[in-house]
Amino acid sequence: MTTTVSPPPTTGGPTIRSSATAAVLTLARAESWRLLEHPVILVALLLTVAPWVYEWLSGGLASRYPVMHDEDRFVQVPMLLFAAGALLAANLAALRVQRHNMVAFYSVQLTTTAQRTVAHLLSLLSLGSLAGGVVTLRLVWLATAPGAIGSVRILEAITAPLVILLAGVLGLFLARLTTALVAAPLVIVGLAMLTLAGAVGSRWIRWVGLIAFEDETVASLPPDLMYRPVVWHLVYLAALLVVLALVTVALSGARWSLTAPGAVVAAVAVAVAGAAQTAAVPHDIVTARSEAATRPARAQVCRDVDRVTFCAFAPYEARSEQWAAVTRGVLRWAPEPVANARYAVRQRIFFDSPGEMSDPVPVADWRADDAAAGTPESVPVSTTWGDREGYSQVQMIQFSAAFANRTATGSTAAIYDNAPICGARGLLILWLGAQATPETEQAYRRSIANSYGGSIVMPVLTSGSGPSFPRETADLVKALLGRPVDEVGTQVRQHWQQLADPATGLVEGARLLGVGAGVSEPSGLRC
């Protein structure tokens, strides 16, 4: 039998065009399914969601108290893994023809290389949709946590799917540029370097990469104090995507006269949006941040829980439930006059000077603000709660110890003072702070494990202000935490006066609490 294959017509009317469009759409549909079933995509998806599943199964602190206007940004980081998968899978899909030595067979097809490239580009929408679904599920899951506050910004949420689309287009672009399979993985290594530089670099490089990083050493900020030109970044990414897509189609044989004008316009958009997104933080935001760091009372909402007034920025008001659990845990062992006194807790934001990690907090400003707001001697608490980055758990014990300090000393002076607390008072403060809730106890144990030489510092909002406690005190508290809390708590209430007295030594305090054996007065830490 003889079969004659006719070459595809080079010109044609609407019928040919519509059949070509139908062929492209059919191919796009087929390639979409192949992409979704591609081992690289499946592995990338598995590796992306695995930490979230582990977090869910282990009930970790990381997702117990999410701040949604931060989480919409944090979710972009693990999605970079999925983006790498999209780049690789799209590249492999476009090079399948060469890999299987099928180039000659494609000459008998109705579609041209450019049309097949368009089909590949369209097939990436399936990955974008999948990424959108994954991001949505992650954010919905976090938003339903009982400790969740704030709201998701849609523009931040759609950044990750757009990045996945862009990565896929980049994979196709590389496939049309070179048939070398090594190109795509090596480009990912280069992009990883750019991302790393963006995570630690200056503002302009943070926004040039695929996702825009913030200075994550700064605690969570209220939405109105943040400055993230997300719209410009989305325009930047979308324009980059259009440039790459049009150049890819042109490299596949489409006429440059058709693709070049659009590519040039998109390239201009890349330049404009790229410059706009790296602009300096506006003056009004800088002023608002300064105001919030020194005199936040006017921008905060206060609510009373038990006998404690909690003041917080919007939308952190609901965090007072977690703070109240801590203050209750501390006050339950205080004698009646102390437990029935009025207390105030005020949320604070602290910014280090650029390049500094040990600036003191502006105590004078805070005191003046408290006096004006009618909440004197308020205990500072951070905007960060939980264990988002593995180290923010320490904010829990810092607040708990600060509140215990306030109840034991009757003022907030010692909270900000760098002087070591050596005697029984230190034992009282640290034990009260550590045992307040299971989470503060966990944070305390972690602080001990991470401390140098066994002594502990309780800085205010991880600043340069705050007291230290000698190793002997820290060890005694660890021993006390091993005993039934009711038993120790009863002794604490009974001997409160002596334990809170700065003249009482550590040995005497340990004796009062029944852990006196082998204890000596601390000698280091200027005690």
Partner: protein, 231 residues
């Protein structure tokens, strides 16, 4: 079946000709670029940054080497009497030497980019362990065939290595496998790399064995019998 050094030497040039030299060369160039650009550009690196650059040099190198076992004639030479492990060793041994040499040059470049006072703190053995572990896992993946797939190993190995590296880089601090030298996590992460090296080596041994025993071919042909007698 064992073969002598003479046959190995006679096979080597043919294997080199069939090797994906573009991938190898690109990997080498990327590794040297990461290792030497900071020094060439006069950028003074911190110790942690130098280690990061060294790691990126390693990533570039292993991605190039992920294609070292690819052979366009693999399906043809499968019928030859040369055992599979010989072909694997003849490719992997020079590749390992090349990788070690290139990585050493990159290490020297990163060292020079450091402040002279801290140059001695740039780890060698600890980072080299990472390198060998990554190489072993990459070679294992490169030699792995999934089912009846005839795709060259690099098609699977390079993407797999990239995805695993990104996943590893995203691990939280408590389980980090790429910590800066001198941190508490450094020692524990070396143990993890040691385990990975052992797993990778075991994987290489596994993928080097014959899929079907050569001593008992399913249907011996006259020509194969002749081959056997000749050898």
């Amino acid at each position: 079946m064992l073969i002598g050094p003479r046959l190995a030497l006679s096979l080597a040039p043919h294997l080199l000709r069939a090797t994906n030299r573009v991938a190898l060369a690109t990997g080498v160039v990327v590794a040297l670029a990461f290792g030497w650009i900071p020094f060439a550009a006069g950028i003074a690196l911190e110790l942690a940054d130098a280690t990061t650059m060294l790691r990126f040099a390693l990533f570039g190198m292993v991605i190039g080497l992920a294609f070292v076992l690819d052979d366009p004639a693999a399906s043809t030479i499968a019928t030859l009497p040369t055992p599979r492990y010989v072909l694997v060793v003849l490719r992997l041994a020079p590749a390992t030497v090349l990788a070690t040499a290139v990585w050493s040059v990159a290490w020297w470049g990163c060292r020079l980019a450091l402040d002279p006072e801290v140059r001695s703190l740039l780890p060698l053995g600890g980072v080299l362990l990472e390198g060998f572990a990554l190489l072993a896992v990459t070679f294992w993946l490169a030699g792995t065939r999934w089912g009846n797939d005839v795709a060259p190993g690099g098609v699977l190995a390079a993407p797999a290595v990239v995805l695993l590296l990104i996943a590893a880089a995203l691990l939280p601090d408590s389980t980090a496998v790429f910590p800066p030298p001198g941190t508490e996590r450094w020692g524990d992460s070396r143990q993890a790399w040691g385990v990975l090296l052992a797993v990778g080596l075991a994987g290489i041994v596994w993928t080097s064995h014959e899929p079907t025993p050569r001593a008992r071919p399913l249907a011996p042909s006259v020509s194969s019998e002749k081959e056997r007698i000749t050898n």
